[in-house]
Amino acid sequence: MNFELDEEYQDLSDTVRDFADEVIAPVSARYDAAHEFPYDIVAQMGEMGLFGLPFPEEYGGMGGDYFALCLALEQIARVDQSVAITLEAGVSLGAMPIFRFGTEEQKQRWLPDLAAGQALAGFGLTEPEAGSDAGGTRTTAKREDGQWVVNGAKEFITNSGTDITRLVNVTAVTGTTELPDGRIRKDISTIIVPTDTPGFRAEKAYDKVGWNASDTHPLSLQDVRVPEENLLGEEGRGYANFLSVLDEGRIAIAALATGAAQGCVEESVRYAQERQSFGRPIGANQAVSFKIARMQARAHTARLAYYDAASRMLAGRPFKTQAAIAKLVAGEAAMDNARDATQVFGGYGFINEFRVARHYRDAKILEVGEGTTEVQLMLIARELGL
């Protein structure tokens, strides 16, 4: 049993940490306040190969793995969750389905630009009427003259409306199957929809509580026609495919949430040593130091949980439950630590430009996105036979 990182993982983590501190952190508050997408940072992350971390070199990737991506996400999320989710969604939701389920031709066509961070892809699963219950998908794709005609609407789609967004992987109902018991099941498939296709529209960006510098839009799809070969993976297998994408994605989100939780610890330790009250640093009060000690314990636990899920995944062992546990624990750790960190900061914790205030606004979605806390609990309970 060994929880030490291999040297190349450690070096990657340290490098991304430096990049986050030196390049991202100084501009985070500005992008957050302006609700602006940080194109220049994304470009630099592309040059560093972060968008290509888990992909082989033949597709323009770095020849690393999913765990390498997780380490990068953790380091970035310490200082900026918006930038981290842009990377997470770009790689694990946008590019990964093409790598996992795409034909050789689809991979050759889309992956090199995505892996270089020069283009972004979104993953359009959630709909106005279908969130946790993705089986409720209403968007349809019908075959017509060698094309798919896609109609419907999507909700909350990350990276779907930037200037460099090239495509969205859209889940849609492509037929129905009658089950032995007579019930009708929707066949869901995934279709690659290039964003310049007529009828595809990223609607006005949401006014979100947090993740302000990340790009999130509702999508409308009206008679969107794409070539038949834009089917991603097998027809009717879309549901199973995105479930496996989401299982992996949960590990990445857990890593991101771990970073957020750790960022809250780092800020709190620094501030507790600096800030004086009653003639001594506030950290000299056990009420403050114990709070921060508990925060550290949460971040550490979250990290172990995602390391475990990732190592199982890389070893080719089942990891669904461990990914759900990691997502659950890390999401809650981020939220709890953000609440405690803002308390340590007193009034300054309520001022938007402070990093802990940003974490406080940003962390909430970590209990919801890529499977709510309740969905994770459902998965864990199911594994227990409940």
């Binding site: 190349e8 070096d11 990657l12 040059e47 560093m48 190969g49 770095m62 020849g63």
Partner: protein, 274 residues
């Protein structure tokens, strides 16, 4: 370009300037058990990488070689150099080197450069250094090294470009009053400043590749030097004492109650600053 280039970048392992630096021993010296590649050397490595990219890239047969003289931990500096694009590393490692000053360092590096040329069986065209090491900050080594090797020396270059044929270079040097454009024939030694470029962050691919790159270790005698010509014994200067800088005193706050400007002026006059 007629011939592929051979570029050597001497790099130094230093205590992290961003962290707490500790003085230990007698005479007190900076603790060097843990450290990093001197940040200013990253500009030299980046300059080397950019020259390679501008002259045919990785396939063109150029060699960028990182050289360090330092304790065992200095392999970390070499590793970083290999991640930032150097093709191979050379480490001069010897207990006899303890206490070496700039004079000795230049002597050892010069011998190592000659050894590298023999080992690689190619002449060194360009030596690129940082403008100073972030620990000693003497900036003496580059000039002394160029002198010993008989290379043209361009110090404090804030820009650097190689001619198309690789036979000469153009650099910019900034003095307090002017910017000089200088041209030098190769072989040459250029010390680049932190204005010369923006060092890259290594990619994961580069981190993985660095693990497979060779590092050779040489002792002082391997370089054909006498052990008493190096270290404290061979040095012209010796550190007698070192004390931590006293903590910065609290500043004086001037609250502007209508006469803030006057108070500021008085403050400056009192210190003979205006």
């Amino acid at each position: 370009m007629s011939q592929p280039l051979t570029i050597v970048v001497p790099v130094k392992h230093v205590p992290d300037a961003a962290g707490e630096r500790v003085l230990a021993g007698s005479p007190p010296l900076l603790e060097r058990t843990s450290g990093i590649l001197s940040e200013l050397d990253e500009y030299a490595l980046e300059a080397a990488a950019q020259i390679v990219e501008a002259h045919g890239g990785a396939g063109a047969g150029h060699r960028v070689l990182a050289l360090t003289m330092g304790p065992a931990g200095a392999t970390d500096a070499l590793k970083r150099a290999l991640q930032l694009g150097a093709d191979a590393g050379f480490h001069v490692l010897d207990d006899a080197l303890a206490g070496s000053d700039a004079w000795v360092t230049a002597r050892v590096l010069a011998a190592a450069l000659e050894r590298i040329a023999r080992t690689e069986d190619r002449a060194v065209d360009l030596v690129l250094t940082g403008m100073a090491a972030t620990d000693g900050e003497t900036s003496l080594v580059p000039g002394q090294l160029a002198e010993r090797l008989g290379l043209a020396h361009v110090g404090f270059a804030s820009s650097l470009a190689l001619a198309e044929d690789g036979a000469s270079l153009t650099a910019t040097r900034h003095t307090e009053t002017e910017a000089l454009q200088v041209v030098a024939d190769l072989p040459a030694l250029v010390a680049v400043t932190d204005q010369a470029n923006t060092p890259r962050y290594p990619t994961f691919k580069a981190i993985m590749a660095a693990k497979k790159k060779p590092v050779q270790t040489w002792s002082v005698t391997d370089l054909g030097l006498d052990t008493d010509a190096v270290g404290l014994a061979g040095s012209l200067t010796e550190v007698l004492d070192a004390v931590p800088r006293p903590p910065r005193a609290a500043g004086e706050v001037v609250v502007d109650e209508g006469e803030g400007g006057i108070r500021l002026a008085e403050f400056l006059v009192a210190r003979k600053l205006v």
